[in-house]
Symmetry: C2
Subunit: 217 residues, 2 copies
Amino acid sequence: MQPLSSREKILEVAERRFAQRGYAGVGLRELASAAGLGKSSLFHHFASKAALYLAVLDRVLERIETRIGPALAVRGTAGERLDRALDALIDALAEHPTVARLLLRALFEDDDLPETETPEARAVDSRLRALIGELGRFIDAGVANGEFRKVSTGDALQTLIGATVYHFASGEVGEVVTGGPLFTREAVARRKAEVKGFVHHGLQSPQPQERPKESSQ
Amino acid sequence: MQPLSSREKILEVAERRFAQRGYAGVGLRELASAAGLGKSSLFHHFASKAALYLAVLDRVLERIETRIGPALAVRGTAGERLDRALDALIDALAEHPTVARLLLRALFEDDDLPETETPEARAVDSRLRALIGELGRFIDAGVANGEFRKVSTGDALQTLIGATVYHFASGEVGEVVTGGPLFTREAVARRKAEVKGFVHHGLQSPQPQERPKESSQ
DNA sequence: GTCTATATCACGATAGAC
DNA sequence: GTCTATCGTGATATAGAC
């Protein structure tokens, strides 16, 4: 693998910084020098700070798409496909702590961006809508064929996003809640199992007072 | 009710601004004039921007505590108490769109604050830990008496936080996902029902291909 | 308790040499 | 494609009059 181009190096550094401190919290001077460049050189590669931020977001969404698309395309019951999609999504989020944080910050940092009518912004927006639409149609299909309960598709999707994206973005608070790190192999594997278990069976056991000592972990 | 004191007015305005644009995105000048004051007068009421931010957070956590505490203290099965706690939490989050956003931003904006060793910061931290501990012990109890599945307490708690806090913080993205507003009375009521339904029954129906047309909405 | 004025600094962005 | 220098602006915070 050849060494990173300046553009790629900038994107890499920017992803970490934006995930950690948010759009407004990152200064281009600091970012440039962390990428081994002078501040002005950034403007040769990206038209503005907002354009750089959107390029970072786009790259992350593209990575997630690449993982989830094939998982949803697999044949099988809706339950099986859901398991695969959750595994793929969690793998994408667990790959690096920046991913979930960027996604979660992007929820409300739209307000922060100076212009929202640029072509880059519309590209990110349509990528996100495509991903949401894909997952939504998939849940709909499961409800339609009777395999899933008659849930509100949108609310179910929100719950799944919360269970995955929020979790891996939750940082120190999440470590307090779970009592340990979030990104070790064991923690990620446990999260996958717990989310799938929660989705499949629900929190409340079907037989309240019966054989309380058997279920798998 | 007497008119708001300057301090209260500042806290009110600051809560909206910090929720909307984040810690780094808010300028004290703009904030002060929105509160009807000169910029320098803020420093008479709060020692620094960070202290103001922490005061805002503390006030929000206090409001949530006030709602959830009584709900958890009620007698009943773990399932009933869970329903009450979820209702109380969702009511607190739905009261004003700032609440969930502030909480979610607080997850990662700790990195943004200049000092984390001030007494105010420790007050917020201990308030948060108390709330988490309370909810955790409550789930533990439900698992211990066999009413809940043998889930990982921390992961279940993370899922519940995601289903509630994330949802009401999700803004425009959440509106795209659910296909409508998040804070209308109907949307909040539907969210309560969906979250409780999801928690109780799980997404996958117990009898995959049977009576697919009956369950409640 | 609020104000004006100011100190100090960092920000995003541009100009233009090399 | 990277650099130095600089513009204009707005940031947090302080000093001190009223």
